[in-house]
Structure formats: structure tokens, C-alpha cells
Symmetry: C2
Subunit: 620 residues, 2 copies
């Protein structure tokens, strides 16, 4: 059943053998896995300035020291993840590392934190990308939520087509962004040195920027916590090692270093320029856009910068679209998440995970009104929680393996764990009332769900295993059995004829039953019965309260108790199948109700009632 | 399966025999069927003034002449319906009368108009009732939509309990309203005669009441069309004749006259008082509330008036809750609407119709922001369309029966038809752009749906009738048949064991099938197969694109073509049934997909594929 539009949209199905070949070279992998980390330079500086501004413009002098601390932290985290990439060449996300080395609970906490962060990555990147567009084209501002949803739809489509094509599709904007951003910084520095770059003439300060708060340590930490948004996405490569070309670990490690160096240069450069040209964060234009105008003027270079920023931000979401489905499928494989999440679609991607991510991110954007700034406080908790668990897990990993220079490696990861753990505490403390509490509620909820799903799957496997099953199977088989067959009817027609015919073909003990809800129609059936089905007994059940299901259930119990060794009565339901979907609303309401009740009902004997549908198709 | 809270909420189930006794005496029937008509005096005068105001305050002198014309029209319509009640003692709604006398199309148009109007009756009455509350207690104004929804919930509950109790429940407020409103008019007139009633000191005119439009004929007609809202609900009694105590027609006729006289007195009285005390319509207080304050002061009598007005308006919706489900069930009985609408619930009310009405009215209130004035233009079209069709139908009825003084009766109905037809044209003309067009789009849509449903049911009856069915039934029956049975599996467990056991009990030609999506799991099944099911052949299907359904369907076709005279292959599906609802999300996705595909698929031979579910229940 191939549907043509499906092929047009998603491409031809790929055979399973193609899976191994769907790998990324370093250049494409940088585009797929680094867009999240790199693109965060488009908003991280702005988030620092927004917090400092509450203490007045003078506090802006602190932006550069804060950015330097964050860059140092980035170096530590990148060094840590470099170890992870080599320790786990098959792909070492925080979940796997924490689960294997620290145990199930830390692993699930890391998984919950990561899943939440992937959703936030999509939401934050896409809203920030749309801000880049509306900075250049203010008339689109009222349409920003619609633009966000459109962007999500496009990325979802790209990912449903498959990972190789995503790499090709997303390389161009990523490299355009890197090129333009580095050009911006270079031109900016040259113009600074030649003295031709002047501070931006600021419009009157907005009211809420009056800057009356005292410059406390708490405020500085809050600015630092906001700036840490620059580090999100650093872990993406370590999750995706298995998508690299062989040798996976080496390629992934090199890509990771390249990414960290680029990120550091871009973040420090843009923060320095922001200080020098005295940018002030305003609602309708991003900080990067203001710097772009100051350095490039409002000409084509500026527009290209905004376009590339918008594209890389919108595509940064793609990192999450690569990782969220992958992590879901790993959780599913470990029986912590519903099995559907592990199904490879016919384009060799985890289609269900992609769909779930797109839905959740769109929901978040609509709820938070498309405002990046409102989403940021939710963002960092999960990131640093998973960083910390992952580094701590690596320390245990090296202690267990004790290979080569394991003490050095453990020390590097140990420093990473302590540093990111401290940042986590700072983030929780300084952002708690701004939204971080939501994440601290969500993570335990998700972990509880993982445990419940896991318990259910394990319990089910124990219940259905054949290990202790009755071996007298062969004895009965091949011996046809006289089932007690009950056929409920509401009128006499070809559908009931088909049901009765099948009933008689599998058993000689068939009873037709009619529930007397409308006396006239019952009388008509009784009248016609003899001429059509004289051989089959017809039982009429009274129903003073006009329910069909209740009298039928009592009757079935009665039949069950007759000759109990012959098992429960088998129910055969005639079902009229109309040709069009809307016509289903006009039929079979009672049949559906009956099927649901019979399927979910635990019979007293513990046996299961078998229900047979005999469809009767109507034409057109 | 009686659920205790259901009994508490709705009362014990009523046996079918109780149906005939659930009748209303005249006093209760007036409360149930007249609240719609009577309560419209709470807003009709205001709607006239709102239109006239656009031409300046001087135009208010026209309100009394307009009210007199509407009262005359009311007399004509009441006389017409008095004929209908006697001509159709079993209940003569516009649908029945138009359908029997004018044909199917006019009948369905009347039915569509009525159904729409019942929904609007609920929406208009409830929003106006909430205005009566917020006029007295302005602090509740922001909660008006919530109050509307609460009121709908309460009425729905009353109606689901059954019609007799609705009569008792709703008598007190109806009679309280009639008493207080007549007192208001009487006291008002006495104070006028004694010269102690002074015009209300008006606050500064609101901006939109500047009154700059010229007083054209079109504007006067629009004021008249708005005032016709007073006549809505006049037909309610004629629809509900069968709910009266015997003799139904006489009792209904007397109740109708009482209602029309009361309505005329109240409408003229309040309009006259509004003129005399020079009321000006404002947004936050209703006209009746202003008059009440002027006549009674702001004391307890005023508050009682507002409370009674609110109650009767909210309960006026009850008229629709009596009639909408009744009309739906009649349409359903005539195969124009889904059958579920004809199901009497266990409290002897048409529960599905009641639920549908509640949902649609709530939707309308939310969409129109709880504003009565925005809903009024939608209201009158359907009312006068059904009036006209019903009267015209009665003219034909008397021409056909030619009993007694049929010429007089036909003449009375003829006058009614012409008068209401003219009003219909006025309403469409003057209200078209204000919302009447919505109704003119909806009615043809509904009629098309009725026809489609009707066509489908008739077509189905022809397709399933036994009249031309194969009579060789007896020959085959009693002869067990060797069905070709196919059991699709995904793994070997107790669920598959149960399915295979049942398969072997009904046939000796059983084949197990596994689709090779995960090679490891397939290999495991093949390994274990011999020790468990050596007697049954196991077929492994390859699936390069990882679909389970597609290879299975091709395999089934292959089996079907083998020994075609033995019919299509029967499919037996093992199904794991978990104990909790959320666990269903974790199971059987493929089984559900397969069942849906097999059920909806028309096989080439035209035969229907039989599908058997063998459930396996998990504990807790």
C-alpha cells in the first residue's frame, strides 16, 4: 500500500541494508551536530546584558569577565567530552554513560534532563531565529509564532527524509553563518583599530531598563547563569558518535575540538564588540543585529548576516532532531519508553520520535508566546544536570577500566564534573523562580514514567513467557473442539447471515441472541427466523432499561457455566463496514461498545473471551 | 455494570414501561415550554432600542408602534399554532408538518432551521440571563462566560435526569418571573398614574450612541426584525404536544393561548415603561434592570426581579433541551440523522441529543464571547423560516383533510404563513451582513447532511436485505469447514500460544507467520519453534522496508488464491490486554493497525476477511 504523495514528500523507502551506509563525514557532522552550540552566540551575549542592565548600564563592564569565565568552562567541558567520545566510540550520551557507570537512577535522571533539553533546544533556537528575521524585517513581528511553527514543520520534513540528506541540506547555512560571523568580528576589530567604529547612538532607554537594582553577587551569578546558554549543545557530538564515518571516535573528537574553538572565538568576539559599540538590548532588535548594522551598515552584508543567523538558529533545532529520536529509541530498546519509539521508519529514521519532538516544541512555543527570553531560564538546568552526571560517570568509567593514562583522564572528567556541578547549583539558585522550578518538577515525573513503563514491560515478559507454560500443547492440537458460539444480532440481514454461516462452519453449538430493546423489531426477527435459520436456536433477552450490553453479559456468563470444561462462549459479531469514513459514525456503535467491554473484561475463570468479527462490506 | 456515581447523579434507571406515565400537566408544561417565549421580553425591547438609537434618541418614539406590530404578529402566529396543535395532537413540529404536507425538502429545511434555532435559544437565553446577573452584581462581569458554561452544565444535568423532574424543577422560577414581571408593570403603571415615576437621569451618552444615522425605512425594519426576537419559542408547545397529559391537544391549545396572552401583556408593558422612563440601552446594565431600579428602587423587590429574570432566561434554554433531542430522535427515526440520536437513555431521555445540544451551545457562547447582542441576528432567520414552512404545511393539511370548518382553518394558517414569510424576508434583508448569512449557509449544509445520511441508510438496507439472499443456507450449515487459518506472530509467548491453540481447535489448516523486521528476534522464534509447535508450519516473510502490514497482506492474498473455493484465509491475532488504560499505549500498535487495514479492505473477490482476536489478559 504505497501512497504516491508519501513517496514524493519523503522519498522512496530505504531497505534495511542501507542503514550502515548512512554516515556523516566530519564536515557534514559539524553542520548537523554543531549548529546548536555555535548558534547560541546569537543570543547568549544578549541574555548576559539583559540581566546586567537591571543594575544600570555601568554594570555592562562585567560582561567581558563573565564571558571569559564561560569560555574557560567551555574548554573544561570540551576536554571532558573529548574523553567521552573516545571512551564510548559507539555513542556515549549522558544517559548511557551515567546508566552504565552510576546506575539506573542517575541514568534515567540524565535521560529525562536530556529529553527536556532537546525540546527546549528546538523552542529556543527557533524563537531566536525568528527574532533574527524580525530584527531585519520588523513588519513580520506580528507573525512570529506562525513563522516558528512553519520552521518546525520544515525541519521535521527534512528529518523524516533521512539523516544523510539532512547533512547536505544543513551544511550550507551553517558554514555561511560561521563565515559571516567571523567576518563580522574581523571587520569589527579592523574598524576598531582604525578608529572608524563608533558607539551606537542609543534611543531613549526603555522604561524597564532604568537600572535601579543594586549590583549584588546574586545578580552577577544570574548573568553568568544566563550566559551559560552559550554552552548548550556541546554534548551533541558525544551522543552522535555512531553517525560519524569510521574511525568514529577520532573523527568525532576532532570535530568536537573544532566546534569548541569556533564557539569560543565567536562568543568572546561578539561580547567584546557589544561592549565597545555600547549595544543596549531592546525588544524589537537583537544585539547581534545591532552590532551587524554598526559594523556592516544596513547593506547586503548585514542582511546576509541576519539571514544566516536566522537559518542556523532555525536549523540548530536540527541537532535536537538528530538526538531526541536517537535517545528515545535507546530508552525504548532498554524498555524505559514505549516500543513505538524504537521503530525505524521506511526512510531509516525514528519517525515517531521526530514527530513527538516536533509536537512538544511547537506546544512550548505557543505556550510561551514565542519569546526566547522566557524560555532561557528553563534551558540551563537540564543541560548542566546532564553535563554533571555524564562527567561523573566518566570518572567511574576510567576507574573501572584502568587502561593507559586513566588517572589523567579521570582527573580531567573530575574537574569537568565539579565545575558543571557548581554551575548547576548556581543556575538553580539564581533562576529558580524564573522557571527553573518547572524543570525540577518535570524531571522526577519523567523518571517515574520511565520506571513505570519499565516495570510494566518486565512484568509482562514474565507473565507471557513460555518457560513455565503448559506443555500439553500437542495433545489437544489437531483435535477440533465444539466451541459454544453465541451470535448477538439486532436484525436479520446479510451481515447476520454471514456471521451465522461462519459460526456454523466452526461449531455445531451455535446460539443466536437478540436483546429486546425495540419490541417491534424483535417481533419481526422472531417472525422471519423460522424461514431462515430454523436449525439455530434464537434466544430473546429482555432489557427493561434498554441496555444491550448488560443483558448480553449475563447471558454469556450463563453459557460459560454450562459445560465449563468446554471453555468460555465464543462471541461472533456481525459488523457492517461502510465505504466512506464518515459513514462509520452511522453504524456499529453497539458493536464497538460490546467489543471494548468483552476485550477489557477479566472473566471470572481467568480465561480470555474470544471475539470474532465477521465484516460485511457495503459498496461505495 | 451499574456505576454508583451515575445513579447518584442521574437517579435510578427507569424501566421502559414508565415512559407513558412521564407526562406534564398544564401548569408544568407552561413552565417547561413557555420559558423561552416569555423570557424573551427580557431582551426584545432592548434590541429594538439598540437599533433605533443609531438614529438618535428621538427615534425611540417608534418603539411602541413597532412593539404593537410585533404583538399583532404574535396573535396571528399563536392562532396558527392553535390550529397545528389540534391538527397534529401527536406533536406537530415544523418538520413533521412541512414533511408530511409539503414534501421531503421543505421538511428537512424546517428541521435544519429548528435545530439551529434550538442551539441559538440556549446560547441567547443563557447569555442574556447572565447579563441580568451582572446588571445587579457588576463585579461578576468578567466571569460571564464561566457563568454561562456553569448554567449549561446545570440544565444538562436536570434534563439527563428526565422530563418529569424538569417540570417540577423549573416551575418555581417561571412562575416567580411571571409574578414579578407583572408586578413590575402594575406598580409602574400605578406610579405613572399617581405621577410618582420620573424619567431616569441618564449618564453621558456612550460614544457609539451619538445617533447620526438617518431614520430610514430600512432602519425601522431592522428595529422590527430585532424586536421579533420576542416571538421566538412560540412554536415550542406545538412540538411537544405528546408530552402533555391527556387529552393532549386540548391541554396544549389552552397552554398556548395562556402563553401568548402573557407574552403580549409583558412585552407591551415593558416597552411602554421603557419609553416613559426614557431608558437608554448601555453595555453594563440591561434595560429591564434599569426599569426595575426606577420602579422598585434598588431594594429586595428589584433584586428578586433580577434573580427571577436570570433564572427564567437560563432555564428558557430548557425549552430547547426538551425539543432538540425530540426533533433529533424523530429525524433519526426517519433515517435522516445518526441512529444514536434515537436511543432512549436509562432515564428515558434522549441522552445523546441532550449532550450534543449542550456542546454546540457552549461552543457558540465561547465563540461569540458571551454577547447576546452578537447572537441575535443569527436567531430570527431560522425561527421565521420554520414558522412559514409550518403554516404553509398546515394550509395543505386542511386542504387535504377537508374536515369540519377546514376553509376557516386554512385561511387562518394562510394568513400566518404570509405574515411570517414577509417577516422572514425583512429579517434576511435587514440582518444579512450582521450574521444572518451564516444561517443561510448552514441550513443547506445541514440539509445536505440529512440527505446523505438518509441515502446511506436506505442504500445499506437494500444491500443487506435478505429478500434476494442465497437460500442454500441450510445445505452448508452444520457442516464444519476447513478454514485456511493464518496466525501472525511477533514473538513466542503465552499470547501466541493461546492464539495457536484456538486456531487448531477450529481448523486443521493452520499456518503461523512471522515478518522478519528484527533478524535476531526472528531467529529466536525459529529456534524455539520446533520444541513448541512442530506440528504447525512457520512461514517467515522478508520485509526489506520494515513494514509488517505490507508483506502480510501479500502473503494473505497468496493463501486466498490457494483452493479458492475454501474462501479467504481467516486471520487470528494474539492480543495482549494490560490491566491499566495507559499501558495500552505500550502494546499492540501493530495489531491495531493490522485489524484496521483488514477490516476496511475490500478483498478482490468481494468476500469479507474474518478476523479473530484472541486476548491474553495481564494481571494488574
Amino acid at each position: 500500500m504505497q501512497i504516491p504523495w508519501r513517496r514524493l514528500l519523503l522519498g522512496n523507502p530505504l531497505p534495511s541494508e542501507a542503514y550502515a551506509h548512512q554516515r556523516l563525514n566530519k564536515a557534514k557532522a559539524l553542520a548537523v551536530f554543531s549548529s546548536d552550540a555555535l548558534s547560541s552566540v546569537a543570543y547568549a551575549t544578549e541574555e548576559i546584558l539583559l540581566v546586567l542592565m537591571t543594575a544600570g548600564v555601568a554594570a555592562f563592564t562585567l560582561s567581558m569577565p563573565i564571558a571569559l569565565v564561560i569560555t574557560g568552562l567551555l574548554a573544561i567541558v570540551a576536554a571532558s567530552y573529548y574523553q567521552t567520545v573516545h571512551g564510548y566510540p559507539s555513542g556515549g550520551g549522558a544517559y548511557i554513560v551515567a546508566h552504565e557507570n552510576l546506575g539506573a537512577w542517575p541514568g534515567l535522571i540524565a535521560a529525562a534532563a536530556l529529553l527536556i533539553d532537546y525540546v527546549l533546544t528546538v523552542a529556543v533556537s527557533i524563537t531566536a531565529g525568528v527574532v533574527a528575521v524580525t530584527s531585519a524585517v520588523p513588519s513580520l513581528f506580528p507573525l512570529r509564532i506562525e513563522l516558528c511553527l512553519l520552521a518546525i514543520a520544515l525541519i521535521t520534513w527534512g528529518n523524516l527524509r533521512g539523516v544523510r540528506e539532512s547533512g547536505t541540506l544543513f551544511s550550507i547555512p551553517t558554514y555561511a553563518f560561521i563565515g559571516l560571523f567571523l567576518t563580522l568580528i574581523a571587520v569589527g576589530f579592523v574598524r576598531l583599530l582604525t578608529g572608524s567604529l563608533n558607539p551606537i547612538a542609543q534611543p531613549a532607554l526603555p522604561v524597564d531598563a532604568a537600572g535601579t537594582a543594586p549590583l549584588t553577587m546574586f545578580l552577577i551569578l544570574r548573568a553568568f547563569a544566563s550566559g551559560c546558554a552559550a554552552m548548550t549543545g556541546t554534548e551533541a557530538i558525544s551522543n552522535g558518535v555512531s553517525a560519524f564515518e569510521k574511525p568514529e571516535a577520532d573523527n568525532a573528537g576532532k570535530t568536537l575540538i573544532a566546534m569548541a574553538v569556533l564557539l569560543g572565538i565567536m562568543f568572546l568576539g561578539i561580547t567584546y564588540l557589544a561592549r565597545t559599540v555600547q549595544v543596549m538590548p531592546v525588544e524589537h532588535e537583537s544585539v547581534v543585529s545591532q552590532i551587524g548594522r554598526a559594523v556592516f551598515g544596513s547593506g547586503p552584508l548585514y542582511l546576509a548576516l541576519q539571514a544566516a543567523t536566522a537559518l542556523i538558529l532555525v536549523l540548530a533545532a536540527n541537532t535536537a532532531f538528530a538526538d531526541f529520536p536517537r535517545l528515545s529509541s535507546i530508552l525504548s530498546r532498554d524498555s524505559y519508553a514505549p516500543r513505538q519509539l524504537a521503530n525505524l521508519g521506511d526512510r531509516l529514521v525514528f519517525s515517531n520520535g521526530i514527530g513527538a519532538l516536533a509536537f512538544l516544541a511547537a506546544l512550548l512555543i505557543v505556550i510561551f508566546g514565542g519569546r526566547t527570553h522566557s524560555l532561557i531560564p528553563l534551558y540551563a538546568v537540564g543541560v548542566f544536570l546532564s553535563f554533571t552526571l555524564s562527567q561523573a560517570g566518566m570518572v567511574r568509567h576510567w576507574q573501572k577500566t584502568r587502561e593507559g593514562r586513566w588517572r589523567t583522564k579521570a582527573a580531567i572528567n573530575g574537574v569537568g564534573a565539579v565545575a558543571t556541578g557548581l554551575v548547576l547549583l548556581v543556575v538553580i539558585e539564581s533562576k529558580f523562580t524564573h522557571g527553573a522550578w518547572i524543570i525540577l518538577v518535570l524531571i522526577p515525573l519523567l523518571v517515574t514514567m520511565f520506571r513505570a513503563v519499565n516495570y510494566h514491560y518486565r512484568d509482562m515478559r514474565e507473565q507471557v513467557t513460555l518457560k513455565s507454560a503448559d506443555r500439553r500443547v500437542g495433545e489437544h492440537w489437531g483435535m477440533p473442539q465444539q466451541h459454544k458460539v453465541v451470535v448477538p444480532l439486532s436484525s436479520l440481514n446479510r451481515a447476520s447471515l454471514a456471521a451465522l454461516r461462519f459460526a456454523c462452519s466452526i461449531s455445531q453449538d451455535v446460539t443466536a441472541v437478540i436483546v429486546d430493546v425495540e419490541p417491534q423489531s424483535t417481533a419481526r426477527v422472531q417472525e422471519d427466523w423460522l424461514s431462515w435459520y430454523a436449525e439455530i436456536p434464537l434466544v430473546v433477552l429482555t432489557s427493561p432499561y434498554r441496555s444491550v450490553v448488560t443483558p448480553l453479559l449475563s447471558y454469556l456468563e450463563e453459557v460459560d457455566q454450562r459445560d465449563p470444561e468446554r471453555g468460555l462462549a465464543v462471541v461472533i459479531l456481525p459488523e457492517i463496514v461502510p465505504g466512506r469514513w464518515w459513514q462509520h459514525l452511522l453504524h456499529n456503535q453497539t458493536t464497538f461498545q460490546l467489543k471494548a467491554v468483552l476485550l477489557f473484561r477479566q472473566e471470572r475463570s481467568g480465561e480470555a473471551r474470544i471475539v470474532i468479527n465477521v465484516p460485511y462490506h457495503l459498496c461505495g
